[in-house]
């Protein structure tokens, strides 16, 4: 019978000899898969039996001194070793490539997550129990950065910075891509590498003998490595890391005058078969600032759903298996997990009974049997849950159930780091403020907490200020529910809604802010100063900073920023930027009394800003397309200010004159439409005049006529009431245009016409549709026939009476 080895064209005898050579090496090598509880169980036994003097672990060499804190009795996984590197002197030449500007040092960071059942974590704990020293042997991530490129480190079990966007578990990928695994998956019917791993090594009593387990895993990895693409191994940094492994191991043994038999190595199974004769030295570690610490991590972050490349697909599921094994109940995993999922499903609104739980466990066992497994693995359990509990399409009716499955698989656990590690002052300040302001609840679990503050209440105000400051520092803890443009009109000026969710990046991010100051306030002040300098002469950005300074309660800075705003308004000539500034200033004007702002100065700023914006308007009359959205938005905010009235410092006629000038000079149909549409909104031209501009396209040549769609798009982009008031004339004009257009011209015009009408809200659409209906003969009588309701005289009288009473109520409401 042909095996996967034969199919993958591997010499089984040579492979066995290679495995024997490595497993019989004087230095004891133990293969692992990151976050595997089964590996951890066997490894723990091996370390306690062998009692080595040194355990070499595939962990980041730069974090060696953190090991005592990782295994401290106060530390509770999930945690992560955090390592960041700043290339202060641009030795990698990546400034301006991997950083926003050439004068900003590029920064790279990595997380090395550890769960309670991660083999590396268990190995550290077991080593401590037998008095062995632990040495981290992995190459620092920043030593793998390729010069003049942004290729991120690709390390096993490592979460690389999100912005790199690449998977960071190359050995898992290499195994899954290997010829041996591909053949095995085909023969055994594995749909994923996770399914294969769980079937072969993780779930059920695969073997109780650690040595047999070690041999089986080593053989598997040897076959995978022998059938991997050598170019992939060459290109992903695997060889450089392995060279660092060997160098560290050899140097440590020499320095401490130890025999290889005194030590053991714990590393990814793929690395067991590294080239021991490779004489190439590992890459040098570049100079720069390196910072490492241990931070609390979460199950969600470790899970694959969070997008973390080295993820574990179900951290809570494997944690439950680990806990049950340690309490002597390994066979209860299926039942415990099914009951947990169904309990969660009930909370999600999905009806699931105990009978369902029984059916699921029976189904999972039978499914595992059919698939050739002695014990159900996660895939079987999930399939059984969906089969027995989802009464319909899993993508539709089954969504609450699927959500319950995901939530139960992943869990919400967040780790804790020993207080002995010490915290930087800014981190301490953060935790103290959270505690003082009763916001500590967000730290317990990685779940969303929603809060609403009334800023007129002093305590709420303090909470709001802290969250605004954290938001300004980009600390990923809190998000403000934005209500653009609605603040004033909806009476939300003093109300804020926040969403808070703890994130393992909070602490590392605060650590990075320490360069700006030792407290949150000091860091905010420094950053605001830096930004003011960067925003010089940009009215919109500077006024946004003024608004932030007020939200963040920085009274000492407000006067300074206000002055900077005046200078920026005077210097800025950009229409969009000036309009943005005006938007910020008018919101601040509403705060003025409450915030003790100097209102006279603010009114002066608004007047200056308005005038400058009006005069800058003709400059954008023929702006390129990529600026149109910004211009329309700016025009609308300016028009809103004018139409709202009630301000002496805003002169309607000045605005109207400049819009008219812009319309006359514009060569861009979309913008011309927007300007004329705005004039109609301002009642400076009649709807009929506006419609005449649309109809005029019907008389033009085809190459001009196709631009009618753009023009109309511009009109409808700014229209509010004028479309409704002038619906009849507009429909007539469009009708005239469409009748004049050839089929091919119409097809060209169509996308923009569609885009234009998609801008309208329901009432505008109704208004236009009614006009079209009237124009094409759908009379009131016909409409009556369509909606004719056959009813008794009594019922009709009752309806008429209700109608009358509703009308009366609505009159009282002044509709």
């Amino acid at each position: 019978m042909q095996t996967a080895l034969d199919a993958a064209d591997v010499d089984a005898d040579a492979l066995a000899a290679r495995v024997d050579a490595v497993l019989n090496d004087a230095l004891y090598w133990f293969p692992v898969r990151h976050h595997s509880a089964a590996v951890a169980r066997h490894l723990e036994v091996v370390i306690s039996q062998r009692r080595p003097k040194v355990v070499f672990i595939e962990g980041p060499a730069e974090a060696q001194e953190l090991i005592p804190f990782v295994i401290d009795s106060e530390t509770r996984p999930p945690i992560a070793i955090y390592s960041s590197y700043r290339d202060d002197d641009n030795v990698l030449g990546l400034a301006g490539i991997a950083s926003p500007a050439e004068d900003i040092a590029p920064r790279f960071a990595c997380w090395y997550p550890l769960l309670a059942y991660s083999p590396e974590f268990i190995a550290m704990q077991a080593a401590a129990r037998v008095g062995a020293d632990v040495v981290f042997i992995d190459l620092p991530h920043f030593a793998q950065l390729e010069r003049r490129t942004c290729t991120p480190a690709r390390l096993p079990g490592v979460a690389v910075e999100e912005e790199t966007g690449k998977s960071a578990r190359p050995t898992d990928e290499l195994i899954a891509e290997s010829g041996f695994y591909q053949q095995l998956a085909k023969v055994a019917g594995y749909k994923s590498w996770n399914e294969a791993w769980d079937s072969l090594f993780e779930i059920g009593e695969v073997t109780t003998d650690p040595e047999r387990f070690r041999r089986e895993l080593a053989t598997f990895c040897a076959a995978a490595r022998a059938t991997s693409n050598p170019d992939r191994i060459l290109g992903d940094g695997t060889l450089e890391r392995e060279r660092h492994f060997l160098k560290t191991i050899r140097e440590t043994l020499d320095r401490r005058k130890l025999e290889p038999t005194d030590a053991m190595v714990v590393c990814g199974g793929f690395h067991l078969f590294l080239d021991r004769d490779d004489v190439t030295p590992p890459p040098e570690t570049p100079a720069g600032t390196v910072y490492t610490t241990v931070v609390p991590y979460s199950f969600f972050r470790v899970s694959e759903l969070s997008g973390y490349g080295a993820g574990n697909r179900a951290p809570q599921f494997y944690q439950t298996g680990w806990d049950l094994f340690r309490s002597g109940r390994p066979d209860d995993l299926l039942t415990e997990h099914v009951v947990a999922v169904l309990k969660r499903a009930r909370r999600e609104g999905h009806a699931a009974s105990s009978a369902d739980a029984i059916a699921v466990t029976q189904h999972a066992r039978m499914l595992a049997g059919l698939r050739g497994r002695p014990t159900p693995i996660l895939d079987d359990i999930q399939d059984a849950i969906v089969t027995c509990c989802c009464k319909g399409n899993p993508e539709d009716e089954g969504l609450p159930l699927r959500r319950a499955i995901d939530l139960t698989n992943i869990g919400t656990k967040v780790g804790k780091v020993t207080s002995k590690l010490g915290r930087l002052p800014i981190v301490n300040d953060f935790f103290t403020q959270l505690s003082d302001l009763d916001l500590g609840e967000v730290l317990g679990h990685e779940r969303l907490v929603k809060m609403e503050f009334d800023k007129r209440q002093p305590f709420d105000e303090r909470r709001s200020v802290l969250l605004h400051r954290l938001r300004f520092l980009d600390v990923p803890l809190a998000a403000l529910a934005e209500t653009p443009g609605a603040e004033a009109s909806a009476g939300l000026l003093f109300r804020e809604r926040w969403s808070l969710k703890w994130n393992p990046k909070v602490e590392p991010h605060l650590v990075e802010q320490t360069l700006l100051g030792d407290s949150i306030e000091a860091a905010v002040l420094s950053k605001l100063h830096e930004q003011l300098a960067a925003d010089l002469h940009q009215a919109g950005a500077t006024c946004a900073q003024l608004r932030r300074a007020i939200d963040m309660d920085l009274p000492n800075l407000i006067a300074e920023v206000q002055t900077a705003c005046g200078a920026a308004v005077d210097a800025d000539t950009q229409f969009v930027s000036l309009c943005a500034a005006l938007g910020h200033l008018t919101v601040l004007d509403r705060y003025a009394v409450y915030r003790n702002l100097r209102r006279i100065e603010l009114a002066d700023l608004i007047a200056r800003c308005f005038d400058r914006a009006c005069f800058a308007l003709p400059d954008v009359a023929s702006a390129p397309e990529e600026q149109h959205a910004g211009i329309v938005s700016a025009l609308q905010s300016l028009a809103e200010l004018v139409l709202r009235g009630g301000r002496d410092d805003v002169d309607r006629s000045v605005f109207a004159n400049h819009v008219r000038t812009a319309a006359e000079h514009s060569t861009v149909p979309f913008l011309r439409g927007a300007f004329l549409g705005l004039l109609a909104e301002l009642r400076e031209i009649t709807p009929e005049e506006l419609a005449a501009h649309v109809a005029a396209f019907a008389q033009t040549s085809p190459d001009q006529m196709v631009l009618a769609g753009d023009f109309l798009d511009g009109v409808l982009a700014v229209s509010r009431t004028s479309v409704m008031l002038g619906a009849g004339s507009l429909v007539a004009a469009i009708d005239q245009l469409l009748q004049a257009a050839e089929w091919s011209v119409f097809l060209t015009m169509l996308p923009r016409l569609r885009a234009a009408f998609e801008r309208l809200h329901d009432r505008q659409v109704d208004s236009l549709a009614s006009c079209v209906a009237r124009k094409y003969g759908l009379t009131e009588a016909a409409r009556d026939r369509l909606t004719e309701l056959k009813t008794s005289v009594g019922a009709a009288a009752l309806i008429a009476d209700i109608d009358r009473r509703v009308a009366e109520i609505m009159r009282k409401w002044s509709f």
Partner: protein, 386 residues
Amino acid sequence: MAKKTAKEEVTSVAGSDQLREPAEIRYADQLEALRQNDQDAKPRSWRLSPRAVLTYIVGGKSLKAEIGGKKTDVPITRKFFGDDGLVERAIVTLASERALLLVGEPGTGKSWLSEHLAAAISGTSTLTIQGTAGTTEEQIKYSWNIARIIAEGPTPQNLIPSPTMIAMRGGLLLRFEEITRCVPDVQDSLVSVLSDKAIAIPELPDANMLWAKPGFNVIATANSRDQGVNELSAALKRRFNYIHIPMIADQKTEVEIVQQRSSELIAQYELPVKINPPILHMLATVFREIRQNKTSDGVSLKQPSTTLSTAEAIGVALDSALYAKFFGNGAVSPSDVARNLVGSIVKEDTADLAVLKEYNTLVARKRGASDKAWKEFHDTLAGQLG
């Protein structure tokens, strides 16, 4: 005996006097080969083990077997294209306490899968109740020979068993097609069949209960478009495991299905016609793009009211072949496909004409500029649509 190819098999079906043979007859050789090679344990009354049933449905390697006294290699062809995990879940359900309900859009192969499961597990796929608005409780349970009742009174001999009763007596699978077309009262008559595994016959005091033999179970099908028409009661729902059959996920598989099924049908109708792969590819593309409201090059399209299932595409392929044979030159052309497309897409809602027109104008015409086959398709369809 030489290895029998799928084509030869089809031909043997074509040679039959029956317009359509049930799966257990059509694929008798494969079922027998699997039975002879089956080493695994079988649930009681099952003809094959669950693993052999799975192989029959999803296909496997050729098996040596003695068929009609001769040793031969029998290829086990794939009957159901889609997720194998879904078939595994269906088989396990049928071996469990719960009944199986296959739900999905029309034309996704629910009845096809149900027939093959019944054929492989029980050796018969004909114990079937077709659910309609007129289905009665008697059709599900039993009825009486009225003439003999009048003469002799109720006796076991005067009872006319339903397919349910026959399946229960034999430990076989009952197929219940379109269960949600039946009114709720009639559906609920299945509750005792599924929970007690028994039918009460109060008219027979000495034999008033019929108990099902081990192996009895029910495979029902329901169209997801009928949801809400006659929703199953909560009591019935919890006695079924639902398996949702999705639309085919990828173009390659859909082309494969259309190719295999249309070849079988063309052989069955004894049509000396061949549909070339590019034509089938075009047909699958049209169906897929209109169904998904988006073309492969990103053009958004209107949503049709029909499902445009793979079964419909197979129907168009067969209609095109018939047209090519009787009115054309024997080879199916893009024009034949276009000609037979309208009836498949435009059914109860004439607004679907606009959908087809939009597709023809915005997509087919553009492709026709650089591709002769698409041009022919566009021109014919434009003529059809007026």
